[in-house]
């Protein structure tokens, strides 16, 4: 620029004007970038590039129009750039005859251009036009963009049902476009086709409260209803992290098991054999000699073994601490029946029974034993053995279960969330692509089919 040139053109100004149709005041905030502008009062669509604001279309607004949640002219900061809301439109699709509408806000920054916010049922997306073409799979069921795969979610024909403010394209009420959405939560890539030209855009899910914060709006953002196509699952990250931790804890559990199995005493503390004469009447109880339980406070496994032949033996036990008078009292049954029938040999019960007595401090103990059985059924030989400090598998199994349950619950909730997401799609459920969700859905469907089949 020569040093002594004419004064450069003045700073671009917001242009104020009047609607040629109804005379209402209009302002054009996009410094000449808008192609159309809508009069707020009479809803005439005007040519924003024409100094006389030629009327392009007028439309009737049905009673009950919804005003934009972010008023035109509001400024907010998205991704570090301040934008001003200059336009608003409502677009409608029909699925099985039922209309579904969403809203789009046109955001403008004089340096960075235009951006869009879409809103449906309280779900918001920050959308911008793509400058590269995604690679669509041959069957159009998915596409890849920047190394990410997006799954086809919904195709529909969208028509513009309401407009307000300024637009960088020739908007008309009633204009239609074929829209197709491909999702990879939290992103969605949409293709929009009018005639032969296809425009690609990418949206990223953004929470209503972040919009309210960005635009400093009063009140609260509308509560989102249902699950939106690209709404990020609050759980998917947590699910894989949780299963990873389950794996680590399972390994720790196995290590723990080996430690306990190695270092527990698992030694015989007492063993003796007796015979119970079922013919005798009178006091059947007796006490054993005193024996010692060694080591730290731990369990004792008492095993009753009886030579039974189609009979039963019930033994009342009391394991009594000679020093403290503290005892554990319990009864155990052994029964064993067998025979032959048309299917061959059968047997029921067992000749052995074991019970774990908990947390016995070391010391001197004895057993008080009182056997019972059917009277006058002969003699039953039996033996009683005690093992001290025996590791138990049951607690490790419970521990494993305890670790699995939250992971399973979390996985179930995540699957339900995804199921709700895909219920809104063209497919009515997850696409049959071998994912866990589609496998679960197929299983549930086949169970339902077999159940309803029974009714007929």
């Amino acid at each position: 620029m020569s040093e002594t040139g004419p004064a450069p053109s003045g700073k671009p100004q917001v242009r104020s004007s009047n609607c040629p149709s109804c005379g209402a005041a209009l302002s054009l905030r996009s410094f000449g970038q808008a192609v159309t502008v809508v009069c707020q009062s009479c809803h005439s669509i005007l040519d924003a590039q024409d100094p006389t604001l030629k009327i392009l279309q007028t439309f009737q607004v049905a009673v009950g129009e919804d005003p934009p949640l972010i008023p035109l002219g509001t400024r907010g900061t998205i991704r570090g750039t301040t934008y001003e809301v200059v336009g608003f439109q409502r677009r409608t699709i029909r699925v099985e005859g039922i209309p579904y509408s969403w809203h789009e806000y046109v955001l403008f920054n004089p340096y960075k251009g235009f951006r869009y916010l879409t809103e449906y049922n309280g779900h918001w997306n920050d959308t911008s036009i793509l400058r590269s073409i995604p690679a669509v799979s041959p069957g159009k069921s998915s596409l890849t963009y920047l190394g990410e795969t997006y799954k086809q979610f919904q195709s529909a024909n969208a028509s513009t049902s309401f407009v307000l403010g300024e637009f960088p394209w020739q908007v008309r009420v009633g204009e239609t476009a074929d829209v197709c959405d491909y999702i990879s939560p939290p992103r969605v890539i949409s293709s929009e086709q009018t005639g032969k030209e296809v425009t690609w855009s990418m949206g990223e899910y953004i929470a209503g409260r972040d919009i309210w914060k960005a635009f400093k709006l009063s009140g609260d953002a509308p509560t989102p209803i249902g699950v939106y196509e690209n709404q990020p699952s609050p759980m998917s990250e947590a699910v894989s992290a949780t299963w990873r931790m389950v794996f680590v804890f399972a390994v720790a559990l196995i290590v723990l098991m080996s430690v306990f199995y190695t270092f527990s005493r698992d030694e015989a503390a007492f063993e003796d054999g007796y015979t119970f004469d079922t013919n005798t009447t009178g006091e059947a109880s007796f006490v054993t000699d005193i024996f010692e339980l060694k080591g730290h406070t731990s369990d004792v496994v008492l095993t009753t073994t009886a030579e039974l032949n189609n009979s039963w033996l019930y033994v009342n036990y009391a394991l009594i601490n000679q020093d403290t008078g503290h005892a554990y009292d319990f009864g155990r049954e052994v029964s064993y029946y067998h025979g032959y029938d048309s299917d061959g040999f059968w047997s029921e019960g067992s000749t052995k029974d074991s019970v774990t007595v908990p947390s016995l401090p070391p010391g001197h103990y004895y057993l008080r034993i009182e056997p019972e059985s059917d009277p006058h059924h002969g003699s039953i030989p039996y033996s009683v053995s005690l093992r001290r400090d025996v590791p138990q598998l049951s607690f490790f199994a419970l521990g494993a279960l305890g670790l699995l349950i939250p992971a399973i619950v979390l996985t179930w909730r995540s699957i339900s969330f995804e199921h709700m997401r895909w219920a809104e799609s063209d497919y009515g459920g997850a696409p049959d692509d071998g994912s866990l969700l589609s496998t679960v859905e197929n299983a549930v469907d086949s169970v339902k089919d077999s159940m309803s089949g029974d009714d007929e």
Binding site: M1, Q33, A34, T82, F114, S132, P168, Q170
Partner: protein
Amino acid sequence: MTQPTANCPNCGAPITFRWSASVQTVCEYCKSILVRTDVDLKKVGQVADLPPNPSPIQIGTEGVYGHRAFVTIGRIVYEYDQGGWNEWHLMMNDGTSGWLSDAQDEYAVTFAAPGRKLPGECKIGQDYSWDNCTYTVSTITKAHYRGVEGELPFQYWDKSDVVFVDLMTSTGRFATIDYSDDEPVLYLGESVDFDNLKFKNLRSFEGWS
């Protein structure tokens, strides 16, 4: 960099060329379109009033593309049914000429790519391959020339309807075939973000810092 000076043959105002290879310029004062001959400047036309420029870029805006700094020294203004756009003529710091297309603040930088076979007519969705890259026709725009400003590397004024074919790729590369002359001209380049161009000396807008 030579800065030859001359005087406007129409109004006598001093004309400076920032770029030695400029073929045409516009007198800032009287808006005459001037073409450089060996000896002096010849007036070939007049620029009608340009519409107000909505772009943040102006003649004199500086920036960086890749490793090369540039200065905006000229522009061509087009209009079509979706509004207008500017093709800014960039003088790169290595002396080459580049173009910054600026349509509703969407930016792309391209450079003339001669010597390639170009189709006579295009259809949307057709693929072409240049320099190991596949370009797909995305838009065919019928525009009309609206005006010029500043220095251009060729003679360009008073064009009637012109056809531009835009091509996009899967990697952000971008191409335009300019059908405004008898021979189509190919420009190859890429879409760029405003921030990556590190602009200086932009216009400011009322109400925006």
